[in-house]
Amino acid sequence: AQSVIEDIQARGKLVVGLSTFVPWAMRDKKGDLIGFEVDVARQLAEDMGVDVEFVPTAFDGIIPALLAKKFDVIITGMVQKPQRNLTVNFSHPYAYLTVGMAANKALAEKDGLETMEDWNSSDVTLTIKRGTAPGETAARLFPKAKVRQFDDDAQALQDVLNGNAHAFLTSEPKPAYYVIDNPDVLYHPFGVGPFDPSASAFAVRKGDPDALNFFNNWIQYRNLDGWLKSAHAKWFQNRDWKDQVE
């Protein structure tokens, strides 16, 4: 079969599926898409010599759409996992995540949660964003705790702020930012972490080795020349982009 790489070139357009995930992909005040991933996809298209088209899609619809050939590739901070890899192919990683944790001060004090062992209890409730790496982390570090999955970090955070849950886990650097934003309510428990480095990769359909080879090598190429690193730094090392959004 013809590779999607040829389709892209014949069409002159790279179609990228993504869903909103701060700061990977989000909307600025003009309503345009910005973020790390958006930069990556733009650069990728430029290097291929084609235009790029973003198709923001609700997370639940994103995999079926890829499988039904509605997109060429998904670039949305998707973490490689073996179970997922059985369904789609992943490229080499283009970014790494670590998981951090922010907890509700009052609740932790009330329940006397101090050590890691204290947190591994069925009385503890943790929140995460559905389909992200922290899920695994929570399951590995605190197998006894209850985990609530939300569609988005903002909800997961609010649940903790409201005192419904003890702590939430998400990829760094967000936990740090949230603690800075809500110093009276939140804190970093037991001063460890970040945990569990994991890797984000492009997702493509199975059965297309050419595409996989192309994306892998593009990532390696842009890794070696340092472009990926600096793009990553722009979005993750500081929050200068904040006033583009708020």
Binding site: G17, T20, F21, V22, M26, R27, D28, K29, K30, G31, E53, V55, P56, T57, A58, D60, G61, P64, A65, L67, A68, K70, D151, D152, D153, A154, Q155, Q158, L161, N162, G163, N182, V185, V245, E246
Partner: protein, 296 residues
């Protein structure tokens, strides 16, 4: 004593109801301040309605308004398509023959009993993704003149998502049509048998009886439930976000996530939905009154 025989008046029940309502409101306000850990900040919302475009030099609609327009656009289309489908199905369900009744019945039961998400997936990925590409809309639009393209975009939204739009539109219509079919069926059945008989005794054909006698009366009866269905349709149109259509609630969600202003965006979006839905309800209420002028 007898129901409905008296005008509303102020009684003991009012005192109880009022006291309960006031107490509830007071309690909630008190607790909002003391319990809810949230700093409200509405300042960003207006910018997402309209923004000043420096390049163009005038105000342009931003995401929320764009989303609203998409929502209204797809709702209106879906209502039109669903009404046509629903009317046909509703008439089929009152047919004398078994086959149309069976088809109508199976359709209605299937749609009403299956949750929307699996239906949308089934339809979009397996059925419409076969049929719609056959129409070759994509290539037709590539060659279209800018003027045609403008009209098409006004009617159906961005050209690159037109296939999605059509699929979303059809699935929404199909779901709504099942409910409309039931409404239409009830409306038709509510027209007394004597009307058919009177129609045929002045020599009208079956079709003419439907067209000039039964449907005009049935429509009058179905306006209120159809209004309810339309409102449901507007609200349920958020489903099509699953197939990449940028409607109101999807964009609101994106803003909420990007802005980290979860409640403000949602409350405001709720208000937007309320406004269009309620306006719609009022408009239909007017229509109903106008149509009902002469009927008892």
């Amino acid at each position: 004593m007898v129901r409905g025989s008296k005008k509303p008046r102020f009684g003991i029940l009012d005192v109880i109801v009022l006291a309960a309502a006031i107490a509830a409101v007071a309690y909630v306000t008190y607790r909002v301040d003391s319990v809810l850990v949230y700093t409200w900040d509405w300042s960003a919302i207006p910018g997402y309605l309209f923004r000043y475009d420096e390049d163009l030099g005038h105000w342009v609609p931003n995401l929320l308004i764009k989303g609203l327009i998409t929502t209204i656009r797809i709702s209106i289309w879906a209502l039109i398509v669903a009404s046509i489908m629903g009317t046909i199905l509703g008439v089929m369900r009152t047919s004398q023959r078994l086959l149309p009744r069976l088809i109508g019945w199976a359709y209605v039961e299937f749609i009403r009993n299956i949750p929307p998400v699996p239906f949308l997936f089934l339809f979009y990925f397996f059925i419409s993704s076969q049929i719609i590409p056959l129409l070759n809309i994509g290539s037709a639009l590539d060659q279209a003149s800018p003027a045609t393209l403008g009209v098409v975009e006004f009617l159906f939204g961005p050209a690159n998502l037109i296939e999605n739009f059509l699929s979303g539109l059809i699935s929404l219509s199909m779901m709504s049509a099942a409910y409309i079919a039931e409404i239409v069926r009830a409306g038709i059945l509510a027209v007394p048998k004597g009307q058919y008989e009177a129609g045929s005794s002045i020599g009208l054909s079956k079709l003419a009886i439907m067209r000039y006698i039964v449907l005009p009366q049935a429509i009058q009866r179905v306006v209120p439930p159809i209004a309810g269905q339309f409102i449901t349709l507007i609200k349920d149109s958020s489903l099509v976000a699953l197939i990449s259509i940028q409607e109101l609630s999807f964009l609101a969600m994106e803003i909420a996530i990007s802005e980290q202003r979860f409640f403000e965006v949602w409350l405001f979006t709720g208000l937007m939905y309320f406004t269009i839905c309620y306006a719609c309800a009022l408009a239909f209420g007017r229509l109903e009154k106008r149509m009902g002028r002469h009927l008892r």
